[in-house]
Amino acid sequence: MRIFAMRKKAKITSEVANGKLSRRASQRGSSLVEAALVGVLILIPMLAAVINFGRAYFYSIEVVNAADAAAQFGAQNTGSTMTNNTGMITAAHNEAPDIAVTCSGKPGACWSSVTPSWGCECSGTVGSGAGSNTCGLTLASCTGSHLVNFVYVTTVVTYTPFFNFLGLFPNMNLRGQARVRLAPQ
């Protein structure tokens, strides 16, 4: 309190004595300016980045869940659900209620694609990629294991962040995939 009083007193004295009002005023506001600069250039972008990332993860989780739900739907049975692409796409959409079905360009997420496919493989081997929607293997193809069908679903969502600083946060594609096996019948 005493320092403050001294400072005030000194300020007035020097203002009167030297007439250097403007310099002192700028020094006095410098921490405010610094704070403003820090806020504008660092804190707000950081906050925006956190929000953007957070929302991206939020949608990413929904995208992965949607792929899982679609594949689980398809894997119910070989006879009907495995080839029911419409059903799988609907299952994916239903699993991710926060993702818009049609894209409007507004910030948020919208479906780019849900791509189901099926195929077959040997139970003991690690397959990859989409199925060919046909089964080219026979019983003899699998030695030591047996033939299983699989449903493979990839989900792609276009994510538009809220904040886009000079193109720093462009639109992103968020992807999910799930590959679930089912018994051939």
């Binding site: 320092i3 400072r7 950081m46 869940n65 049975n77 019983l139 294991s145 590959r179 018994a183 019948q185």
Partner: protein, 557 residues
């Protein structure tokens, strides 16, 4: 004075920089934590997808025994490969561990507990994926290490246990009965419920449900919603993409040239030891008859080998010793079974023991005497036995008035019912009839037939030739192809534990052999129930790779 003030001003100017620096460090840390945490949440979902897929793939393969390989493959297909291990501990930093196990266990290392533990859940598969190799992005700056992220899933395999394979004849029918099951039902055609109820956790139907009106489920069983399926389900023991359960090969018919007639053993207190040379070399070509001979301590014994039949056993103690294949053949009479266990004595029938072996009986086996006999189809504990009925079928009839009848199987027995399709021949197809027609407690423990727990036919009690296409329907107690007939009135425990596998035949249930059995499953072209029946599904006694080629699986946890 001014100088001191200026110095103070300079120090003040630095203060905000320090403050900003400190705040920045904190903010970056918090932001890093937020971003990393978001990523771990995302990774956790991916792990869950992989765990779900792995548990399902494992459960689908539970009947094949390679559930661990299949589960790990499914996890890899969903992006996670690592050490396949079920050690109850966190994996080392930078590594991923994948555990595929059955039955499921509580995994305290990942804080996962489950009610599906123990040998009663051998058809459940648990997948636990622990990822201790997750990258850190921002928190790395502060030397933060990623947490071990884990996901678990449990799937149940081997879900169905009742299959009606017929695609055009209304595969499953129930009349005035409640059929309860702890496992699912598949019907490739219509399901007929006439004053009946089908109480099962799942019912898959290709056709439609017919019948007048139903009964209610009781005893804690529930009626599942009928699910329509688009295409017929294949025989689970002969599924697309899997090798079929192999059919056993019957032994070859022996030859005999001689005219000595029938070899008889009559009223010998100490039963003689018989060898195949007796009938195939010595020329007794019309069979063996054993009457009133042997004791429990000194039975008439048959060494392994091929014997000319028919063999008739009346009020005697007989043991067929195990070891190599023992065959009993009937090549002389189409009207008699190859092995006929008869009785004509009020004070008890015969006691016949079969030690563990593969037996071929041409002309079939019949225990249809006026008074009950005791047969143990496999008296050797811990070993599987196979009885090939090469024509003539199996007839186990317990009649009133004597203690004990029909079969027991200490070490487990599989009956393979085969023959040829031709008309009146020794080896033409015969029915399997397990028919009890007495009241009281006569049956005792002797009426329990149990499938083997080891070997190719683990879990298979009755296996009928896939070429036996006869689908005749049997009425109450009548003998027709693959007919199980029984009248009510038995109070003793009666149980058939194992599979009724009649891929081309009809099974009629006139008696409930299921309630006392730990597990029963039915694969038949057609099946009819005339009494309440219960299917249990406790497979604890069976090896993991029991041969029910059941592919469907469902996530349970």
């Amino acid at each position: 004075m001014l100088g001191r003030i200026a110095m103070k001003r300079n120090r003040e100017a630095g203060q905000s920089l320090i403050l900003v620096a400190v705040v920045m460090v904190m903010l970056i840390g918090i932001m890093g934590f937020a971003v990393d945490f978001g990523y771990y949440r995302f990774l956790r979902r991916q792990l869950q997808t992989a765990a779900d897929a792995a548990a399902l793939a494992g459960a689908m393969d539970i009947t094949y025994g390679d559930f661990s390989t299949a589960g790990a493959a499914a996890a890899a297909e969903n992006g996670f490969t690592g050490t396949v291990s079920c050690a109850n501990q966190k994996p080392a930093t930078g590594t991923i561990s994948i555990c595929i196990q059955s039955p499921p266990q509580n995994m305290s290392a990942v804080g996962f507990s489950t009610p599906f533990t123990g040998s009663g859940y051998k058809n459940y598969v648990q997948a636990v994926i622990q990822d201790n190799a997750a990258p850190t992005f921002f928190s790395k700056i502060f030397n933060g290490t990623a947490p071990s992220i884990s996901a678990t899933a449990i799937a149940e395999g081997g879900l169905n246990c009742i299959y009606g394979l017929d695609t055009g004849n209304g595969a499953l029918s129930m009349f005035l009965s409640i059929v309860s099951s702890t496992c699912g039902v598949v019907d490739n055609d219509n399901l007929n419920l006439t004053l009946a109820a089908l109480c099962a956790p799942s019912i898959q139907l290709v056709g439609s449900q017919t019948g007048i009106f139903g009964l209610s489920c009781t005893g804690g069983f529930n009626r599942a919603k009928v699910v329509k399926i688009a295409s017929a389900v294949a025989d689970p023991f002969c599924q697309t993409g899997a090798s079929c359960l192999p059919a056993p090969s019957p032994g070859l018919l022996p030859t005999c040239s001689g005219a000595k007639g029938t070899y008889t053993v009559t009223n010998q207190a100490t039963g003689p030891a018989l060898t195949a040379a007796l009938t195939t070399i010595a020329g007794y070509c019309t069979g063996i008859t054993i009457t009133g001979s042997g004791t429990a301590a000194h039975p008439v014994t048959f060494a392994p080998g091929n014997y000319m039949g028919p063999i008739k056993i009346v009020n005697s103690y007989v043991t067929f010793t195990g070891g190599t294949m023992a065959s009993v053949f009937n090549v002389n009479s189409a009207s008699q079974p190859g092995l006929n266990i008869a009785s004509n004595n009020l004070f008890g029938g015969s006691t016949v023991l079969f030690q563990a072996a593969t037996y071929t009986i041409a002309g079939g086996l019949s225990d249809a005497g006026s008074f009950g006999s005791y047969i143990n189809f496999n008296s050797t504990t811990g070993q599987a036995s196979l009885m090939i009925l090469d024509g003539g079928g199996l007839k186990l009839v317990g009649n009133s008035g004597a203690s004990g009848s029909a079969g027991q199987s200490t070490g487990g027995i599989t009956f393979y019912n085969t023959g040829t399709a031709a008309g009146a021949c020794v080896t033409c197809y015969g029915p399997i009839t397990s028919y009890f027609n007495f009241s009281g407690t006569f049956c005792g423990a002797g009426c329990n037939l149990t499938a083997p727990t080891t070997g190719t036919y683990a879990g298979i009690l009755f296996f009928q030739d896939r070429n036996d296409t006869s689908t005749s329907t049997c009425a109450f107690g009548a003998a027709a192809s693959a007919c199980f007939g029984a009248s009510s009135g038995i109070s003793g425990p009666v149980a058939h534990t194992g599979a009724y596998y009649f891929p081309s035949g009809t099974v009629d249930f006139d008696f409930n052999f299921g309630a006392g059995a730990p597990y029963t499953y039915l694969i038949a072209k057609d099946a009819n129930w005339y009494v309440n029946f219960q299917f249990n599904s406790n497979y604890a006694s069976l090896p993991t790779s029991f041969p029910l080629r059941q592919g469907a699986a469902v996530l349970v946890q």
